[in-house]
């Protein structure tokens, strides 16, 4: 009789945790819907809900259709897709490397993308999709370099993070140096690759980033089962039957691909990959990697930051990366302060 009672408890406890995960994702989805609706209606040209819906389905005033379909909707979609990619990638980095500070910003992978793009822009005069490819290559190269320097008979998390921090400084310095040497009119185009923006992602590029993110997410789902054992440390993971190095390589490759893809379109949007998983994990609070919740949080965070950057900041339209930086940095400090207290 008592056995039955505890058995229900184990199943019940798991159901409670699952409900909580679903709730967090639903909440973030709601935030996306509210912020997205707001972003559709508010702007230089204010639209009524009726006009917006008509515009979205291609009916109504030509100007409205253009504003909705070519300007506002793609920007919302871009923020959601890119934010989700950053959030998911950050969660993968943090759980795989067992370090809450591991994120593409800190590891220099985002700055690698910036460096690739800035080099392409200033030295080679590239633009468009080729320039995005340069950013992708930059992120990939930095990840590979970190890998080669950090690998010593297996991947050691702390060495990976420290080598990454070194590369972040190196790439940022090179970007700054390139900008200092650039002409004034060129430097404006470079800026976007250092702060990140979703204002110019549309059409084929948006479709590419969205499809790529979707495909990578499916791949993540396929390997995500190893995250539970991996979060217990290498020895425990191996004892539970996980091939630790292979699992880690696979997960990090997917995370790097997600970051490279998102950064190649939007530039390095500061702190989303670092902060979104931290928020998601805190909300879900089950000791898991909170992958889906992190993606949803990343999407919500990026969209809200972009809307805020367009409308809320003292009449200045700021790129999304500036807003996430302004919000993310204090949050990071708060996180560090409270974590410190808790661990005592």
């Amino acid at each position: 009789m008592t056995t039955d009672a505890v058995e229900t408890t184990v199943a019940d406890l798991r159901a409670v945790r699952r409900r909580r995960r679903v709730l967090v994702v639903a909440g973030m989805t709601l935030v996306v819907l509210v912020a997205g609706t707001g972003a559709l209606l508010v702007g230089a040209a204010g639209l009524t809900p009726g006009q917006a819906i008509a515009g979205a389905v291609g009916l109504g005033d030509k100007g409205d259709v253009f504003i909705i379909q070519k300007l506002r909707l793609p920007r919302i979609e871009a923020a959601v897709v890119v934010g989700a990619a950053f959030g998911l990638a950050g969660a993968l980095f943090q759980s795989t490397l067992r370090n809450p500070l591991a994120s593409p910003d800190i590891l220099g992978i985002s700055s690698g993308a910036s460096l690739g793009a800035v080099t392409g822009l200033l030295a080679l005069g590239l633009s468009g999709v080729v320039l995005s490819a340069m950013a992708f290559a930059g992120a990939g190269l930095v990840a590979l370099a970190i890998w080669l320097l950090a690998w010593r008979k297996g991947l050691h998390s702390i060495r990976f993070v420290l080598v990454g921090v070194g590369f972040a400084y190196l790439c940022s310095s090179l970007v700054a140096w390139s900008m200092a040497r650039a002409e004034e009119n060129e430097a404006a185009g470079v800026l976007i690759w250092t702060v990140g923006s979703v204002s110019d992602i549309r059409g084929d590029q948006l479709a590419l980033v969205a499809t790529g993110t979707l495909v990578l997410s499916v791949a993540v789902a396929a390997v995500s089962r190893t995250q539970g054992p991996l979060s217990l440390g290498d020895d425990n993971a191996r004892s539970l039957g996980v091939g630790v190095d292979a699992a880690r390589i696979g997960t990090l490759l997917l995370a790097v691909a997600l970051v490279a893809l998102a950064t190649s379109a939007a530039g390095p949007i500061a702190f989303v990959a670092l902060v979104a998983p931290a928020i998601a994990r805190r909300l879900v609070n089950d000791g898991g990697a909170a992958l889906v919740a992190s993606a949803a949080t990343g999407a919500a965070l990026t969209l809200v930051a972009d809307v805020a950057g367009q409308h809320a900041l003292l009449g200045v339209a700021a790129p999304v990366g500036i807003v996430t930086g302004l919000v993310g940095a204090p949050y990071l400090l708060w996180l560090l302060a409270t974590t410190e207290k808790r661990s005592r």
Binding site: T3, V6, E7, T9, V10, A11, L13, R14, R17, R98, R225, G228, P229, S231, L232, G233, D235, N236, R238, S239, L240, G241, V242, G243, R281, N285, D286, G287, G288
Partner: protein, 275 residues
Amino acid sequence: MTNLRAEGVSLGYDGLRVIEGLDLTLPDGKITAVVGPNACGKSTLLRGLARLHPLDGGRITLDGTDITAMPRKELARRVGMLPQSSIAPDGVRVAELVSRGRYPHQGWFGRHSSDDDAVVTTALRSTGVAELADRPVAELSGGQRQRVWIAMVLAQQTDIVLLDEPTTFLDVRHQLDLLDLLTELNRDRGTTVAMVLHELNLAARYADHLVVMSAGRIVAEGAPADVLTREVVSEAFGLRAQVVPDPVAGSPLVVPVGRFHSSAVEPSAVEPSAS
């Protein structure tokens, strides 16, 4: 019959050989304790047996099969290992952590079945942490936490369980609780237990088979009463000691002699226990 055996095994770190050509068979269905001074290679040996540490030479077999030739997941269904000082991720709850022991038994999608729940429940129960199921692991005391980790290894349902210094950081009462728990596991389920222990006298009391190591080799192994002599303690630990019968269990009790306390009672003056 599941025999874990080391055959001419060499282990080391970055070119530094810790163990050279060591042979050891864990007796099936028995409790084996490995003791020895710091840095004698006892933990390294255990890690090698669990395939946590690559071999520099020799092989480790399970029922005659080289364990490196087995898929890791299959090995994980037969040999469980509790490494030294595991740290639970932030926020993870007891039931969830113990459930992770089911990983090697689950398929690609890893849904928890009701069988898994039953196994997890039994593991929680037999380690006495069932009422803590919903508590975050980080909030537990050291003794409770160690029980939770052992519950995770139990949920793995392996015939062989290896433990690397499971009693470290526990006070003496919790050390006994834990060793009693492992004895129960061994008696009730016939689980083969092998553990590295620091506390010689507890090792002698709880082990069926005692392995004394020093400088990467086995100094002596066998029944504790045969193995733990003054000579062996002196050879392995470089320690002068008297060995008297444990008044409670009758197993050998090592009483070390330091520099400042001369022996008041000669070993011959102590009555041998009845058993």
